[in-house]
Amino acid sequence: MAKRIDRRDFLRLAGIGGVGVVFASALPGVARAHGDDDFYFLQLSDTHWGFEGAPNPDARGTLPKAIRSVNALEQRPDFIIFTGDLTHTTDNPVERRKRLSEFRQIVGQLEVKDLRFMPGEHDASLDNGKAFQEFFGATHYTFDHKGVHFIVIDNVSDPRAQIGEEQLAWLAADLKRQKADAPIVVFTHRPLFDLVPQWDWATRDGAKAIELLMPYKNVTVFYGHIHQEHHHMTGHIAHHAAKGLMFPLPAPGSQPNRAPLPWNAAEPYKGLGFRSVEAELGEARYEITEYPVQKA
């Protein structure tokens, strides 16, 4: 059984010492004994393997550096989820598979072996997820871990940025099997809500998924796509966007264009990173800690 993680120990182990950001996502209504079921997982996102360009002159080195940082964590996470855009898009199906293959080989260097994957539009929208599935299996699925029900929703394999009626029916059927106060964590690539539709930061039928989730008291969503930390509430449901590992993007709607932020040689990898999510079921909350690509 995993050792229970004390939050202060955890932050000390994380070595963030005022550098990282902690965000607590409350789960009202959950009353469980604080104990050995507490755990944490990592969210890595938007690695865009295959990208080349000025926004990241260390495009082939950033992900390996992040992996070394993950492997250096003293307390290992129970699992790691990659929330999409594993690879940068290419119109060439052969090159797409080459990038997916290289990505799989690189993340194979993670010492944590419970890895979960989901596609982003860069991986899946040009072939409805076909190549992704060849390497990583299903694009939407569920799993349970220490009392938390995890749901991976695919809102990218349809190039129209839709979940689709079939998957929504699957989601509804899965949710029917959950208690109203069950701890539920949802992973998506795109935001389920309209963050900035003008920048394609939305899911066309995301409101339908939120409507299905709304009756459940304890739902938290973690997603990627926007290459930055962001927190938003739809009713009682918290949505947390993660930083990426290739290039940061501007704050939502802060400028006309959604162009990558320029690389800053004085502060390399600024705006990039990954996060841990500590599930403190006894305290009915998740705690998010943001990590840089590598320690300064």
Partner: protein, 121 residues
């Protein structure tokens, strides 16, 4: 004769009024039509100027593959299918510069496929 001329005069006035009314009604309801062509990864034109309060129909075509047209600030969107003209009608009710974009992932340059609609008084 005088009566006949008066009747003809009245008839002409009525017809003239009817024609004038028809033109006026037609002018008030007939929207401005703007054609926008798309292909990977651009719209032509990519900048469109409109007048607030004047109805407009956008006629959208694609030269290659299925594209999207999304103008979120006015709740306007359409799929653009090869060989067909997609028409969307709306009346701009606010001034400013508004982004339209392709919202169907169409390839490596998809994220740059966008344009502006400028609405003036």
């Amino acid at each position: 004769m005088a009566i006949k001329q008066r009747v003809l005069g009245i008839a002409a006035a009525v017809i003239g009024f009817a024609i004038a009314s028809s033109v006026a009604v037609h002018a008030a309801t007939s929207p401005k039509v703007i054609k926008i062509s798309s292909k990977r990864f651009e719209y032509k034109p990519h900048a469109v100027k409109l007048k607030k309060g004047v109805p407009v129909v956008l006629e959208l075509v694609t030269e290659d593959i299925v594209m999207g047209f999304n103008l979120p600030d006015f709740g306007v969107r359409a799929d653009i299918v090869p060989g067909k003209v997609a028409r969307v009608k709306f009346t701009p009710d606010k001034t400013g510069t508004f982004i339209f974009l392709c919202d169907i992932f169409c390839g490596g340059g998809h994220e740059e496929m966008k344009g502006n609609i400028v609405v003036v008084d």
